[in-house]
């Protein structure tokens, strides 16, 4: 380091710029970025594998915890896939309620993002303001679902809670406040000189690059690509509700900000219409415990972009395979491209601009050194046996307990 002019600095896994642990290694020359290495895997939790070990109903709650911010997105996406395999016809009222929660979640996610973006460019006042106003939507969500995050609204075949008249009025009242505040944020984001200086021309991703790198969500829409599952492949009640797909031609972080704040206005419109049209009827249908053999892919427009879930069932009460493609995985490739020839100071905001959710996206990545002899690939069964053996060596033996549990379950 003493002799060379360029050096590598680690941003993460622990770094104040990142809200979640993930490793970036940035090669620098002075303040200029020469290259970025993104190392996924620090926050891998093995949720897909864990889902195979649990029943479908348990999986809803497990998969809801894939992400704290877009918990409803993942749960809905999963439930939609299972419903498709089981051939369930979900009541329309349930679809509308899902849509309302989904849009409320988008509002809270976008407001949260606005604050984080403000913090990344050293504008803490924006953070404090937008997070204060975010409380309004959090309160609405808590009033409807009982929780601020991880709402637990979905069940296979519908939703678990209804929205009553009193709650409807509360939502309308909250939306009025939020709409007024959002207009103010649109003004701030598009007129404040230092914000514009820090955002425009930073992290440029051209239309061609979006198509080549398969970016999704606001990242793609900010480059003029009209890509929104809600419009392209409508699910829940989106086909019946009027809304515009917001796009922008700036193709930079500024464009992504504009897209997000304008999407807030669309969300208010969708929720208002959905509440007005909310049809009467049951909120769920009875679902079978065992899902018939089959497989399905479900798409969902999460606040961060397109979320894809694949579920394969084998006729039992547990899925055979669950595959989650979180939107960040689609966007994270683009970050490397966006950071080319930028300054180190742009790094936090460019990473933040895709609204990354690393724990959702994390995959196990094994980096094997060439001369490493200790690493080997083993299958699931072998790993299971190995872990039992390993715990036995430590003096922990679950065989007796397992037998007791099995006996209790059967008896």
């Amino acid at each position: 380091m003493h002799n060379s002019k360029d050096f590598k600095i680690p941003i993460g896994p622990q770094h104040p710029a990142l809200k979640e642990p993930e490793g970036f290694s940035v090669a620098l020359k002075g303040e200029k970025i020469l290259g970025v290495d993104i190392r996924l895997g620090y926050n891998h939790r093995g949720i897909e594998k864990a889902a195979e070990e649990r029943s479908y109903v348990q999986d809803i709650y497990l998969i809801e915890r894939v992400c704290g911010i877009c918990s409803h997105s993942h749960a809905t996406c999963f439930v939609q896939a299972v419903e498709e395999i089981a051939g369930l016809i979900v009541p329309v009222r349930a679809l509308y309620i899902r849509t309302i929660i989904a849009e409320l979640e988008r509002i809270h996610s976008h407001l949260l993002w606005l604050g984080v973006a403000g913090h990344e460019i050293g504008f803490d006042t924006l953070l404090m303001y937008s997070w204060r106003d975010r409380e309004v939507v959090m309160d609405i969500l808590a009033a409807i679902t009982g929780n601020r995050v991880n709402y637990g609204m979905n069940t296979i075949g519908g939703v678990r809670r209804d929205i009553d008249i009193r709650q409807t009025e509360e939502i309308f009242k909250g939306l009025d406040i939020l709409e007024e505040r959002t207009k103010y944020y649109i003004e701030v984001a598009t007129q404040e000189t230092t914000i514009i200086k820090r955002l425009s021309g930073v992290g440029v991703l051209s239309r061609e690059d979006v198509l080549r790198l398969d970016a999704v969500g606001p990242t793609a829409r900010a480059s003029g690509v009209k890509r929104d599952v809600r419009a392209d492949d409508p699910y829940a009640a989106y086909a019946q509700l009027p809304f515009e797909v917001i796009t922008d031609e700036h193709a930079d972080v500024y464009g992504r900000t504009v897209v997000r704040v304008k999407e807030l206005m669309e969300s208010y419109r969708i929720i208002r219409q959905a509440l007005k049209d909310l049809p009467a009827g049951p909120i769920s249908v009875r679902a079978p415990r065992k899902i018939p053999v089959g497989e399905a892919i479900s798409r969902y427009e999460a606040p961060r972009g397109e979320d894809v879930h694949y579920v394969k069932s084998n006729g039992t009460e547990k899925p055979e395979r669950v595959k989650i493609r979180a939107p960040t995985l689609a966007n994270v490739q683009a970050v490397k491209h966006m950071l080319r020839d930028r300054y180190l100071a742009d790094m936090p905001i460019v990473v933040a601009a895709i609204d990354p959710c690393f724990s959702c996206t994390d995959r196990m990545v094994a980096l094997k050194e060439e001369d490493c002899t200790r690493a080997k690939v083993i299958n699931w069964q072998a790993l299971h046996t190995f872990s039992i053996q390993w715990y036995k060596q430590q003096g922990v033996d679950f065989t007796e307990l397992n037998k007791k549990l099995q006996g209790k379950l059967e008896g």
Binding site: L28, G118, I121, T125, M128, T194, K197, P348
Partner: protein
């Protein structure tokens, strides 16, 4: 002898300065918090933080140069405190004074930044080094407009001594109003010196963790933080004297109150400025200083030269 020691160590020297620095930090943080719709800290928070840090363990990185690492904070604090002794606060008299002390004060206020650089550089941590280089890079941008802004005022008074500047502006009341542009320039540059938003680039936490301060802990971090607060008080007092030199012959009590009011006004402006803007990038910051602040400062100097040639003839 005892009297001199009292002046240097207690009032208006070391102790007074330390407490007013802590008070300044509180006021700054409180205004910042209230403007951001937060509650903000209680009045004793800076003192509590300071005492807590003093009680903590000092960790010196194994890779660092321990001597330079330890000397830098003390050096910075000493320089900032010494600068205070040359500034006339509420009268026309300073504790120490000679012809040329404007330069000395500005020089002493530059030293802490240099010490931050040395401390950061010898920490040998990547973030520290980046932060250290940034603080030095920033120094070259804000220092010139700051010097020019303050010296423009000295130029009008035709002296290099702060004491004589005070005398001149008392004799020519209202002349300070010609320097208001210089005040704006110096205030913005002062933000760079104090490493506050929008010029908190050397310690931008989302980029370089805490910049040059990353590896510091315990007592040395306490000194570094105190240095920045002392710099805030010294800088504000300097600006108060140079740009608002009125009411200097009011006598001790009302003079002191007026002085406090002036300093509070400047600290309030600093807090306000850092509330309403985002952090700039280092290249934007340097561009801004050289493209806008320096030409404006030159204009101020030109204006003062013209004034000298006409009004003061």
């Amino acid at each position: 002898m005892l009297g001199a020691l009292f002046y240097i160590l207690v009032f208006p020297g070391f102790l007074f300065l330390v407490f007013s620095a802590l008070a300044a930090e509180f006021i700054d943080r409180k205004i910042y918090a209230r403007l951001q719709n937060r509650v903000g800290p209680p009045w004793f928070q800076p003192l509590a933080d300071f005492i807590k840090l003093l009680a903590k363990e000092d960790i010196i990185p194994a890779e660092s140069n321990p001597k330079m690492f330890q000397v830098a904070p003390v050096f910075a604090l000493t320089a900032a405190i010494t600068a205070f002794l040359y500034i006339p606060l509420w009268g026309k008299e300073a504790l120490l004074s000679f012809n040329g002390d404007v330069i000395i004060v500005l020089y002493l206020l530059t030293l802490p930044t240099l010490a931050f650089f040395i401390g950061g550089w010898y920490s040998t941590s990547l973030y520290s080094r980046l932060g250290a280089v940034r603080s030095l890079m920033q120094l070259f941008a804000y220092e010139v407009p700051l010097f020019m802004g303050i010296l423009a005022s000295a130029l009008l008074a035709d002296t290099w001594s702060l004491k004589e500047m005070a005398v001149f502006y008392t004799l020519h009341p209202g002349f300070w109003m010609f320097n208001l542009m210089g005040f704006a320039i110096s205030l913005v540059s002062l933000l760079g010196k104090l490493e506050k938003v929008p010029f908190d680039i050397p310690e931008a936490e989302t980029e370089v963790v805490a910049g040059g301060f990353t590896e510091y802990s315990g007592r040395m971090l306490a000194y570094l933080r105190l240095t920045l607060n002392v710099e805030m008080v010294v800088g504000s007092s300097l600006l108060a004297l140079v740009f608002f030199p009125f009411g200097l012959d009011l006598g001790p009590v009302s003079g002191f109150l007026l002085f406090l009011f002036k300093v509070l006004f400047i600290i309030g402006l600093i807090s306000l400025l850092r509330t309403v803007v985002a952090r700039l990038r280092i290249d934007q910051m340097i561009n801004f200083c050289w493209k806008y602040l320096v030409p404006l400062a030159l204009l101020q100097i030109l204006l003062n030269l013209v004034l000298k040639g006409t009004l003061l003839k």
